[in-house]
Structures are given as C-alpha cells and as structure tokens.
Subunit: 454 residues, 2 copies
C-alpha cells in the first residue's frame, strides 16, 4: 500500500500510481492539480513514466494530457507507445494535430499507426500530413461545417438538431457548396434563422472569399487583416473545399514562428530544446551552434595575433579589445532586431536596403560618437594617456557605425537570398564586427604608436 498522496509531491504520487498501474489513482492525482500545474507535474515524470501514464489512461484523457506537451515531445511519446495504444489516443485528437505529430515520426511508423486508426480519421490525416506547417494546408483543420447550396432551411435545422452532440459550435456564417463541392457562398446564421423554411439557403447567400492550400502564413495574415471573419475556407486546385483555417490557428502558427525565430537568434539552431529531452540530444543541439561559433571566434581573434608587437608595446590595449568587440556586437544586434521587426511588420522589403543602411548610419554616427567619447574618457582616466583614449574611442566610434550598418542590412539581404535572417544574422554580424573592431583598435594603435608609448 502506497503512502497517502497528501504526504507526497504530486509527481511522486503520480509515479506510484503509474508503478501500480492504478488508473483511477492516477486520474485522481491529476484531477486534484490546478490547471497551471499539470504541465509542470507531467514534466517531472521520466519519459518512460509519461509513456506508461498515456497507455494507462483512457484514450480521450490520454489525448488531453498529450495536448499539454509541445508538438515535438508529443511526437516522441507517441513514437514510443505501441501502435495500437498510439492509434487509440490520436483518434481522439483533431486531424490537424495528428498530422503534426505523425508528420514528425518516420514514415513507416506513421503508416502503421494510421493503419490502426479509424479509417475516416486516418484518411483526413493522410490528406494533411504532407503539407508544410507554414502554408494554409499545414494549418487548416479538415473539420469544416458546410452544406449544399440547395438545402432547404427546414432540412438544415432538422440536420443541425440531429447532429447537436457532435457540433461543437455553429459558425457565425454557414458555408454553402455547389454540386462540385466548391464554396459558392455563405449565409449569416441570423439569415438562416429568418429564411423561408422551404427556400434553398443558396438563395439568401452572399459571395465568399477562399484561399488555396498553398497560401503561406503571410497571405493568411493579410486575409484576416482584411476580413473580419473568424475563419477562411481553403480550397484545392479544383476550387473544391478541403478545409478551414481559423483566425486562432493562424495566430498560433505566427506565434510559433516568432518564438522559433527567437530561439534561432539566441543560438539554439535546431530550436525548441526542453530540458526534459535526453542530455545527449540537448548538448548536441547546442554544440551544433557553439562549434560553428568558436571557429568564427578564432578567425576573428586571429586578427589580434597579427598585431602582437603593438600589444606587447601597449599592454593596456588588451583591456579594450573585448570592450570594443562586445559593444559593437550590442549595437549591431539592436539594428538586427529593428530590421527583423520591420520585415515582420512589412514596413521594409529587401529592396529597401540602401534606405535602411542610411537610416542606420545616421544613428550609428550619434551613438558611435557618444560611446567612443565615453570609452576615450574612461581610458584616459585610467591610464592618464590621452593618445590611448583617442585610439580606443575612435576605434569604437567607427566600429559602431560598421556594426549598425551590417546589423541593419544583413537581415534584408539574407531575406532577399531566401536565407532565414533569424538564424544567420547573428553569427555574420559578430564575426565581422569582432574582426573589424580588433583591426581598428590595433591598426590605429600601430599607426599612432609613437604617441602611445611617449
């Protein structure tokens, strides 16, 4: 008999219930958790226990739990369940979520699970699984609510009454299809309410705008900016209705894109690390970026090696090398951040690069002068050597202008060449600004050596 749950941390209690294959006990522990604690507790379990818990729960509750995990981890969990159990659980999820999950498993296993799923659901998933996640086809849900334009109001209401239980909510506008399944119009629910019971709903329909499965997130965003509707019908090449993208699905997809961009900027290239992942994979994810970075760093620092005599003559310079490179990196990153944001908002396009460059130079002149002066004074106060102050201040001033120019323009250029600006801007920027910064400090110092050692 296990210790009563109240003496234990919830995840400890949960572990015991799982160990005892005690479904009711596990459900009881989970039921007692405040909603915002659930995910934290689940992540305290080993992935083995997480899998056992999912297998233990009734499929619908397992599906709810699975929903708490980020897509990637959800996929890992499903990947480790036996095919039957996995199929029963994903059968409880909407087809678009299932497509996201199965899409990241190897194809053979995905097919095995699809094979054991409810055939209709499996068919829907197969339709979705091949769409990339950044187009309408990858974001849409296949559960759409549409009727033939020829249906009479009376029959519609009878049908809705019959399907009460399965209809989660009635859309504000009812989509109508022509005989070929192409959206031909939409009727506001209140118009349905008020329509003549015996007239086909098509007679009170308004025109409706659709988007192709291939429309990308930006096109979808423009659509929702333009129209107030909560969702947009998605059609195939033949103009036939295949699904629906809801405003919130788009918002979520855009938020995901933003956060993965952010992770890329911060150097977790493969993105999406969670500490629940195996140690090796976590450290590999990070090393993949760090090892590139250390090579770039060594290249940049090799500039210093070229000037060892100058350094030997004026050791104090060594103190300022990291300051100049760090500060220029900061200034450059600020410019990168603004360019990324203006690209996202659509305020600038790659072809605006010259304009952006000029706008950055103007800021760079001011900030370079300010920072350069600050550093020059600091250097002078510390070493009582005006020439030293002049050298490091001038170097920082110039390098600030270089940094903001690169930082402002590189994202636009990368975007132009279809490289992801989020991931590539940082490394390019810091390497160049470091090299340039070291070169400026030590180069100017070499030229003015007589004054420095005077």
């Amino acid at each position: 008999m296990a210790t009563p749950a109240q003496d234990l941390k919830p995840w400890e209690a949960l572990r015991e219930r799982i160990a005892d294959d005690d479904r009711d006990g596990a459900e009881a522990v989970l039921a007692k958790l405040p909603p915002e604690e659930t995910v934290r507790v689940l992540f305290r379990l080993s992935s083995e226990d997480q899998q056992r818990l999912l297998a233990l729960m009734p499929p619908d509750e397992a599906a709810d739990l699975l929903h708490e995990f980020p897509d990637q981890l959800a996929a890992d969990l499903i990947d480790h369940l036996d095919t039957e159990a996995a199929a029963h659980i994903v059968d409880e999820l909407p087809s678009d979520d299932v497509a996201d999950i199965l899409g990241s498993l190897d194809r053979a296993h995905a097919e095995a699970i699809l094979g054991s799923m409810d055939p209709e659901a499996a068919g829907e998933v197969r339709e979705l699984i091949d769409y990339p996640t950044d187009v309408a086809g990858g974001v849409m849900e296949l559960e759409h609510f549409a009727y033939p334009e020829t249906i009479r109001q009376r029959d519609f209401i009878r049908d809705v009454r019959a399907r009460r239980k399965e209809i989660e909510q009635l859309p504000a506008r009812l989509l109508l299809l022509d005989s070929l399944g192409r959206p031909s119009g939409a009727v506001h629910i209140e118009d349905v309410l008020l329509a003549n019971p015996d007239s086909p709903l098509g007679t009170v329909a308004e025109p409706v705008v659709t988007l192709p499965v291939t429309a990308d997130l930006d096109v979808l965003e423009d659509y929702f900016d333009e129209y107030e509707t909560p969702g947009v019908p998605i059609v195939d090449d033949g103009g036939r209705l295949v699904g629906r993208v809801r405003r919130q699905d788009l918002q979520e997809a855009l938020a995901e894109r933003a956060s993965s961009d952010q992770l890329k900027v911060q150097g977790i290239v493969s993105g999406e690390e969670l500490r629940a992942m195996p140690l090796v994979s976590r450290s590999r994810r990070r090393l993949s970026w760090l090892s590139v970075n250390i090579v770039l760093n060594i290249i940049a620092a090799s500039v210093i090696a070229m000037f060892q005599d100058t350094l030997a003559a004026v050791i104090a310079l060594a103190v300022f090398l990291p300051i100049v490179s760090d500060m220029s990196g900061c200034s450059g990153n600020q410019a990168v951040a603004v360019s990324m944001r203006e690209l996202t908002l659509g305020i600038v396009k790659p072809r605006d690069v010259l304009r952006v460059w000029w706008q950055e130079v103007s800021v760079g002149l001011i900030n370079g002068a300010a920072l350069g002066t600050l550093l020059a004074v600091a250097a002078y106060l510390w070493q009582g050597n005006a020439a030293l102050g002049a050298v490091v201040g001038l170097a920082l001033g110039i390098n600030t202008i270089v940094a903001v120019s690169i930082g402002g323009c590189v994202p636009l250029l990368l975007k132009h060449f279809k490289v992801d600006p989020a991931v590539a801007s940082g490394p390019i920027l810091t390497t160049v600004t470091d090299m340039c910064g070291f070169f400026l400090v030590l180069g100017i110092a070499t030229l003015s050596l007589p004054y420095l050692i005077a």
Copy 2:
C-alpha cells in the same frame, strides 16, 4: 496637373495627391496598392504627410489606415491631428483600440478628444483607458452580445432581425444576464433555433464561466486552454458583465508580449523602435541600453588590467580573452533562452531553480569539455605550446559551466523577485561570464606561468 501616377512610385504619387489636398486621387492611389504594400508605402511618407493624409480621408477610411500602424505610431499620429479630426477618426475604431491609443497620449489631450467623440463611445473608452494592457480589462472589448435571461425566443429573433446591420456576427453561444446584469447562463445558437418561440431563453441555458477584469494574461491563457469557447465574459467586482475577451485578442496580446520580450533581450530596452521614429528618439532608445552595457563591459575588462604582467609575459593570451568571453556568453544565452521558454510554457517555476541548475551543469560539463578541447587544440597548433592550450582550454571549459549555470538560473530568480527576466538576464549574464572568463584565463595562466614561458 500632377504627373500620371503610373510614372511615379506609389508614395511619390501619394505625396502629390496629399500636397494637392486631392482626396479622391489619394484614395485611388491607395486602392491600387496590393494589401501587403500599403503599410510599406505609408511608412515612406513623412509623419507630416501621414497626418495630412489621415485628415484628408473620410474618417472611416482614415481609421482603416490608422489600423495599419503599430499602436505607438498610431498614437503619435492622432496626437498631432487637431482634436476634431482625431475624434472623428477614433469614433470609427472599436473602443478597446481607442483606449490603447488615447491611453498613451497625455491625459489632457486624451480628454479633449474624448470630449469631441460620440458620447456613448467616449464613455466606453473611459471605462477601458485605465486598465493596464496585461489584464483582462485591458484586452477586453466592451462590444458584447448579451440578452436578459427572460427574453422569449420570438422576441430575440425579432430583435436580431432589427439589428441585422450592426451585428457583425452572431456568437456560437448567446450570453444571458440576470436582472442585475450578471451572466447567468449561455445558450447555443442551435438551441435558440430550436427553442419554443414563447419560452424565455433562460429556460434552455447552460452555466457559464466568467473572469474578473483583473485576471492577467496567464489566467486568460489557462481559461482558453481549458475551455473551447471563442470568448470569455469579463465581470466587475459586482459580478456584472462589463466586456468580453476573444481568444484572438488574447493570442495577439500574448504575441505582443513575446515580441517585446524579444526586443528587450536584444537590448532595445524601451522596445518597439521603428526607423520611422525621429532620429534622436531612436538613438536615445538604444543608448539607454548601450551606456549601461559599456559600463558593465569596462568593469568586466578591468579584471584584465589586474593581470597586465602575466599578459606582458604571454602576449598570446590576449588573443584568447575575447574568444573565451564570447563563447561563454553564447553558452549562457542558450541556457537563458531555454529557461525563458520553459517559464513561458509553465514547465518550470522559480522554485525549480536547483533542478534547472543541475540540468544545466550536466550539459555544461559535456559542452565545456568539447569546446575546451577544441580551443586547447587550436591554441597548441597555433603556438606549439601545450601549456598555453591547457590553460585556455581549461578556462573555457570551467567558464562554460559557470555560464550555463547563471544563464539557466538567473531568469528563474529574476521571475521570483518579480523582475522581468527578459530584460535583465542578458546583462547580468554577460558581465559575470566575462569577468569570470578573464579571471580564469589570466589566473590559471599566472599560476602556470613557468610552463607557459618555458
């Protein structure tokens, strides 16, 4: 007579129309633009021209244009219009947007504009304007669709018919209020469809969950995670209905919070810079952060000054100081990124700091060993001095562990002390890792000086 538009860039054409106070011409130019170009073209205009354009357009179209600008700039534009014009334009916007805009003007001017607005709309805005943007009151819209629980289906349908034009869409669930205006239940539209024409809708209602105006974004997020409903009714202290937060409003608020966090991380502390802003304000925004940073940098670099003799003895060390500090900064930032993400997902809470620390140390050991070895080999190949390789490799290895420990834990600690982790993590991290990195390289070098110069 102006040159025909097709010979000009759209913004040039637009400037001319504005200069000629040619409303129709301006409308024509804007009408010809593809939706995704509008914002870019608007940002090509001087803020003076933007103001004149808004004043020139009919209020409803001006409101649409205003909608293209980020809140802050929209506020600046309104701020510079004369009160009458401003009032007519914001009268066309939903009250929550107006509250955001007027909320960032000085109170006197906001009141002046409110005074010239449609009194009812102005009243709604006054209700909203004092709520911070990160609670339900700041995100909610006052336009809610509710009826007394006593209304009969027949009368409801008659009323909906009468209000056809103003009702944009019927919610899937109809909210019902008791005699005190407190939400008492909700009825699915299909239930309304099917209800007895003469029975009060309250008789077919289901219970409904509400949230207080003071609920913060995380509480709202938990609500929408738990319930499928497209919106949540917001109530005041008395439990009376005051507004409604739609899922998409929350999504947008969360996305905004995320992107402003990202800007903070990248050192635009006051966030939200756009190059359309005046040069001085742009450079001040950036300097506010850079000047803090340069001081921190100087403090960190002062460690180097303490070891000038060692540096003088082994000049080659100067090459490795920036490498060690940059690399440790990278490792630390990766840990910060993961902690920020896990905090957002609710996977970790501040009280998990020890666990997080241990998980970071384990990654730090692996990555530190890998990077340290890499750098040691590079140093040896370059200088043919094994001791030098050992020194810098060891220093980088240890400092990597320090960096990931700080990077992983600091965001949790800051969150615990109610400081915004996004803005403060970076500077703390880099300063400490820089100081520590310099100290390790030069300290270990000093101890092993005999081997280095052997």
